[in-house]
Symmetry: C2
DNA sequence: TAGTGGTCTAGACCACATG
DNA sequence: ATGTGGTCTAGACCACTAC
């Protein structure tokens, strides 16, 4: 019983919980649950460290450590003198967090978007499995073409759970200015916080080649991304095909 | 002057320093310098937090925060009850830190190595620029073929600064068991701590196709990696061509 | 001037590893 | 039993932001 001096009863504020972990981990779990439950919305400030310390009956330092970890994970953003805020995809500095495609020297990133298709249909088996949908459950398929200076660079197929994205249409997508994840956040209340990608090199098939204005068989970067929201729940399966003739996917290892 | 109560004179233990940053940042810089200078070697334990606190005349908490950051960056490894150790590529759990190529379900990673070439020569202009060598300075070029179950998967060209890798030969490389970065560390005192990668899809040329037992023009993943050691000094330029028919490059975004 | 996050301290106690 | 890192507290002071 590590924190016997100040145990927090998990059943007090919520249901089953990690039970006996360090106090700051319990606080972190409680904060995560509040974020997940929408107590504080993206962009809003959460209560001050002292307020939270009073609410949870722990010291400021303990709250601080919990917030530190959530900030390190990108769920919260600290701003000295102002407060701590729920992270949002609308922020300038995280705009390229999930956009790893970088132009060669002197080029521009592929920011021109064209929605080719947006339809609701039953999720195919592989998509259903990835998104943890029941087989045959509704899904939304969005197909987009991203270009840089008129040159097509990316062909994206995006699968979303139908239940979470009611009312999503090609018109709404086309009308939206700014990152897609910002729209998901503000229009559908779905916030992506983490993603895993599988990257391969593939040959362009005839249809893809036509969209990207390449020869059939041209080498393309295939990026399959599974995005997750709070609680590691998968909410987006994205399959992108990138023409890397004038762009590259950048990555940092540490 | 944030830390006026306990300023550390940068000139006391070393030369010019970040001057007036938070105390723990100054401690961090001092620890980094000791790591860089080889005061503690990879795998060894550094002094305990209390010892360091005494040495630097600060509280344990301040040393702790400095070590926390270095541990987060992967330079140190904490082990409860034992001490804090200098990270090493020999550790099991970091063995795959720089190896992102993952087998498809049921497959095996490409661990069979064959050294095709190892020669010293003048660095070409682009390599010299990346490694920050003077033009015409000596470099070592290593070419390797990695296979999984007899099937070639990766063709690697590795450029290293000649001055740092005296005595590197195909024989020594072939004889080494374990990760290459472990060899660089223990045999040449060069420890990689960070790397940036540029990833593209390319078509196999005739020579590459032959090595990888593919058709000319087959799509390959091109991974160009610049690895850095302490002080962000570049020490390796690696150009890998991956056959992603049965493996994929995995990445996590957060 | 007041409130926020950021730094630093000193000391207590716990958990883990080792002799 | 001792020494290590890990957690938690209470309080002080600093730096930044806003009113």
């Amino acid at each position: 019983m590590p924190a016997a001096a100040h145990p927090i009863d998990p059943s007090a504020e919520a249901g089953a919980a990690p039970a006996f972990s360090p106090l700051y981990q319990q606080i972190k779990a409680l904060l995560t649950r509040s974020l997940q439950g929408g107590e504080w919305k993206p962009g809003e400030a959460i209560p001050s460290e002292l307020e939270l310390a009073a609410r949870f009956k722990v010291s400021q330092g303990t709250v601080r450590k919990a917030i530190d970890e959530l900030a390190a994970e990108g769920l919260l953003v600290r701003r000295q003198g102002k407060g701590t805020f729920v992270a949002t995809h609308a922020e300038q500095h995280v705009k390229y967090r999930f956009l790893r495609l970088t132009p060669e020297e002197g080029g521009v990133p592929p920011v021109e978007r064209r929605v080719l298709d947006c339809r609701r249909q039953r999720a195919p088996a592989d998509v259903a499995r990835a998104l943890e949908l029941k087989s045959g459950e509704a899904a939304v398929l969005v197909r987009r073409l991203l270009s840089a200076q008129g040159q097509p660079v990316v062909l994206d197929d995006i699968w979303l759970p139908g239940a979470l994205f009611k009312g999503l249409s090609a018109e709404r997508l086309s009308g939206w200015r700014g990152p897609m994840y910002e729209m998901f956040e503000s229009e559908f209340g779905v916030r992506m916080i983490r993603a895993e990608e599988q990257i391969r090199a593939v040959a362009a098939d005839a249809a893809t080649a036509q969209w990207l204005m390449l020869e059939t068989g041209a080498p393309l970067l295939s990026v399959e991304r599974l995005s997750r929201t709070y609680g590691d729940k998968p909410v987006e399966l994205r399959r992108g095909l990138y023409n890397t003739a004038h762009h590259y996917y950048r990555n940092e290892l540490s």
